[in-house]
Subunit: 247 residues, 2 copies
């Protein structure tokens, strides 16, 4: 399953000192992961890097070479620490300047007299990029090659993801079914490993949790793109659990 040719893959690249210092708690990784999984794109890696140009350039280039898409968040505002657009331009080796289309978008929201040098930073777009409309606060994101550059503010990022999603190639959607084991993880680990080995084309994850009554319990999550393979693995998981109860 891991190397399925049907898979469309993505990396998420979170850019910002405030995440690394813990001052701001990231809310975008989980949202993007769930969103992309839901439309048939597998998130294969996430990185968080600081507001340092060489770090952003290196991460963008490592990730865009490896995955179908790269989604970045953060660093496209109007202040000196917003260096994502310039860093992405450098990663692609293309010029960057104020883009007339982006400037026009800003003017839908900001009076011309207020369109100062700082705000014009938000119209700096690498040459050859397509803009991503921002319905919340106008300053656009952009896409260049397979790299999609979005805001860090969650409401704005989410609106940009809605804009860009219909334009993306997607793979066969990953299907999943969760089986509540009603058993401790350590009691099912042995037989579960044998079920997993018998179903190499599915992924079976085991996630312990405490029930509402405070008892250790386990969710088994079976995942496959193929509904028949999924059903076969789920049936074997259920049979294994029934055997344990009898056992």
């Amino acid at each position: 399953m891991r190397n399925n040719a049907d898979a469309v893959t993505a990396a998420v690249l979170v850019i910002g000192d405030e995440i690394l210092s813990g001052r701001t708690k990231d809310k975008n990784i989980g949202y993007i992961a769930e969103y992309l999984t839901g439309i048939g794109i597998d998130v294969s890696e996430v990185r968080v890097v600081p507001d340092i140009e060489e770090e952003i350039v290196a991460a963008v280039n490592a990730l865009r070479a490896r995955y179908t898409y790269v989604f970045t968040t953060g660093g496209i505002g109007p202040t000196h620490d917003d260096i994502t657009a310039d860093s992405v331009a450098k990663a692609f080796g293309v010029p960057i300047d104020v883009d007339p289309r982006a400037r026009a978008m800003l003017l839908e929201y900001i009076a011309e007299k207020d369109l100062n040098e700082a705000r014009l930073r938000m119209a700096r777009i690498p040459e050859g990029a397509d803009l991503i409309v921002n319905k919340v606060s106008k300053a656009p994101g952009f896409r260049i090659g397979n790299v999609i550059v979005m805001a860090g503010v969650p409401t704005i990022m989410q609106a940009m993801l809605d804009e860009v999603a219909p334009t993306l190639g997607t793979g066969r959607k990953m299907l999943s079914e969760t089986v509540r084991a009603d058993a401790r993880e350590g009691d099912i680990g042995g037989p579960l490993a044998r079920v997993a080995a018998a179903h190499p084309d599915t992924s079976i994850g085991s996630y312990p949790f405490l029930s509402d009554e405070g008892r250790p319990n386990t969710n088994l999550v079976v995942r496959s793109r193929d509904p028949q393979k999924l059903a076969a693995a789920v049936a074997d998981v259920r049979a294994m659990l029934a055997e344990l109860v009898r056992g």
Copy 2:
């Protein structure tokens, strides 16, 4: 400031398909980032990778070569998808087997008759590693070289971090002061960039937010390890804001 020789650095490596699929929302990155920042260790990078041995090995080796410490979370439970300990052993090129010390810890919590093959997985420790006591559920974490391997369950991870923290080398603590601008980010971006340029040994971050009354506002966060440099930059930020108000 970025390359301060006083800096002790760290990477966080989150291991788990469930984070990449969005099924589980990570709660460890922000916690570890804030915790380490508070004791004088700078988190410089975060990665999330799937439960695939070669991915874990590659990430561990890339990060441990680059940062003072690497903190991993996830993948040390009793099931087949828990492959962190084996992957870390492979990254270091050392053997791994059931460790008598770890087995004894498990027996504080689990009856000998229940110490099956699955649970014994949790006692597999790379050769040469030091154990990290787990006060919550006994199965230990471990440290090998500069890599600290912790559980993914937040309460357990937090207990392990408390155990290991006193053993870590720490640098001069990063100090920070937040100045509420009472201005829109786009109105202060220009003068703020000049203040930042005048204080190359401090980092000044700009974070927009909506006030309780729903008005766009901005927090300016000044950071330095040197209290005098911090105070000087904060004074200039305040002077810049006062100047803006005077117009």
